[in-house]
Symmetry: C3
Subunit: 266 residues, 3 copies
């Protein structure tokens, strides 16, 4: 059963176990996703070097791979890390930022899929671009399609890869290829803060480290993001205050708030 109660149990597990979450991520969100993970209760680490990623992923609870500012050097580290994660049974999540727009990262992301991510999270353009039925759908980091329009591609991608696929937007859809669950939380002002999608991906990473049911873990991470994000937006006067209120809301998140606010449908 995936509901507010199961979300709250995952939150309690993160705060108790403080899982080490290894991030190979983009330069825009290195600080902000570390802070979001810490605020939630996880223990983030950003380790990027080909000299270190294999050693580090083996002691981590989960790995987050985000191609937002990928270079050849970082791509090499990603390839080593995902193979090491697969070998060690460490769940990993792929954030295919701007995949479908830029050839280099599109090929990279498709290649990384061979190491079987537990979850893939992107906006509509990115999921369409990664799935490949509609190449060139996006124009960078912003979704130009709606999440609902990309839901069939997400479901196909889940079946083709064996990963749970989340396509996020005004409503988030999370599918394992058989079931699709929708999270209806969040707020439009979140689109005016950079890296909110990347932050959602990082939070799912923390959930994957403590929750073996990957569909549940992915929904739980997006539930944290959606509920904390809408609380932050209500308190904010603009995107600057939203960003800091988000960390405070993640830090203060509790079972009662989740029960009151979470809106899931299947």
């Amino acid at each position: 059963m995936i509901d507010a109660g199961s979300v709250a149990r995952t939150l309690a597990a993160i705060r108790e176990k403080r899982p080490l979450v290894h991030n190979i991520t983009n330069l825009v969100v290195t600080n902000t996703t570390a802070n979001a993970l810490l605020a939630l209760g996880a223990s983030p680490a950003m380790v990027n070097s080909t000299d270190e990623v294999e050693e580090f992923v083996a002691i981590s609870g989960a790995l987050v791979v985000n191609v937002g500012t990928v270079s050849a050097t970082q791509a090499a580290a990603m390839r080593l890390a995902v193979r090491a994660a697969q070998a060690a049974g460490v769940p990993w999540i792929l954030d295919p930022v701007a995949v479908g727009v830029l050839r280099y990262r599109t090929e990279l992301a498709r290649d990384l899929l061979r190491a079987h991510p537990a979850t893939i999270r992107g906006n509509a353009s990115e999921i369409l671009g990664l799935e490949g039925s509609q190449d060139g759908a996006g124009r960078g980091v912003d979704a130009t399609a709606t999440a609902q329009a990309a839901r069939p591609a997400a479901e196909r991608l889940a079946r083709a890869t064996g990963a749970v696929v989340a396509v996020t937007g005004a409503v988030d859809y999370i599918s394992d290829g058989k079931r699709t669950i929708a999270v209806h939380n969040g707020h439009a002002l979140m689109t005016r803060v950079t890296g909110m999608g990347c932050t959602a991906t990082a939070l799912i990473g923390a959930c994957l480290a403590v929750q073996p049911d990957r569909l549940a873990a992915t929904v739980h991470g997006l539930a944290f993001m959606g509920v904390a994000g809408e609380i932050a937006a209500e308190r904010a006067r603009g995107p600057g205050s939203l960003q800091l209120e988000l960390y405070d809301a993640l830090y203060r998140l509790d079972e009662a708030t989740l029960a009151e606010r979470l809106r899931l449908t299947e």
Copy 2:
């Protein structure tokens, strides 16, 4: 006519068109300039790799090149990107951080000028260093000369390169080599937040994407920064709160506020 009305029209154009602004920038401001661009209404993307910059700049509305933490790898991406921008007719802006202090980046910045930036924005030391009449004027990222003292160098640099040159400080001077316009907004507390000059450069990038008159676009970007910055400083208790208030102020900026606060002279 460059006045509060033309500034407001550029703001409306940015919010309507959401231009894609490609940034090859320094590690200090990757997150903060993305957030400033988003708060204003533009669509930022940070793409750094030699494998991707040419493809990306061709679909962008403007390119921002900032040498603040340049490496040999990033310099190679900058060279590719500015040539691709020139070939595609995409306007680009150069931020010559600490040029005049460090030989490597001084040579790089002078070399990049061959690809004809639309605008160059720096503090007094940087404009003096790039123009070259007074090598070694600065001591890093801080201006040790006043903007007014660098105004003649800015005007010479504009004539020599064909670029609009902005030298920013307590008063900002913007010259195309014939006309020089001064922006008298801003606040001294902004000097205690890192990357405020880089943020101004990024906002000018957004303006260049929607406003073909490069002198106007450069003044408009500095008008956004100066007006939003002084609103933020009035609300702030220190540099930490200033930074977040700046995003909120950019997000809330409107025609009435610009008309009330903007102080331009020619």
Copy 3:
């Protein structure tokens, strides 16, 4: 005499001289440590390239070396920079993030010690890992041992290297191998914001640039961090607001506040 009065004199010297602090640091804290240094009154610069670090360190007041996201390229810059600092008599500080956990950076950090850092600051796991008596004590960037437990290792490391060694935690211990001083300020909420240890290291860097007594400079930097951090935590509703309140508190720090709050023991 190291007391609130000497801390206040170092603060006044930083604000008067605005020392240039050269940082070769990790991607998580590039922005936040620059902002903390600016808020305190120093002049930060982040220069990473092998083409530039030797030239830049020679004109700097101090160098901060932080291995948090080290790569082979950045390691090469660190090796050049610390040798140049040693040659020019510029004091430098080492932050051995996650040393003891990852072999590559542990070897690097031990090698960098040959260039005689003025100060080494780490958490308990890192100091134990660098000192080497208890390899593998940590699990990443978080301390799993207490600062008090690492105090003997800090004192041994100080005697072995000639550096002042600070091991930070709920209480900070600073030793030159003969004397050990404890700073009892700070707040538990600071552990939920990324890079607070790195920020302490950067602030010590600013102190080393103006205060030739390295034991005093190290205590002073941790006094700024501890006092400003506890003020920020008292004002904050969570880790997001703590981060911005920290900059505001560093900016507003004064002699009266230091005299009232500082708790040092020897």
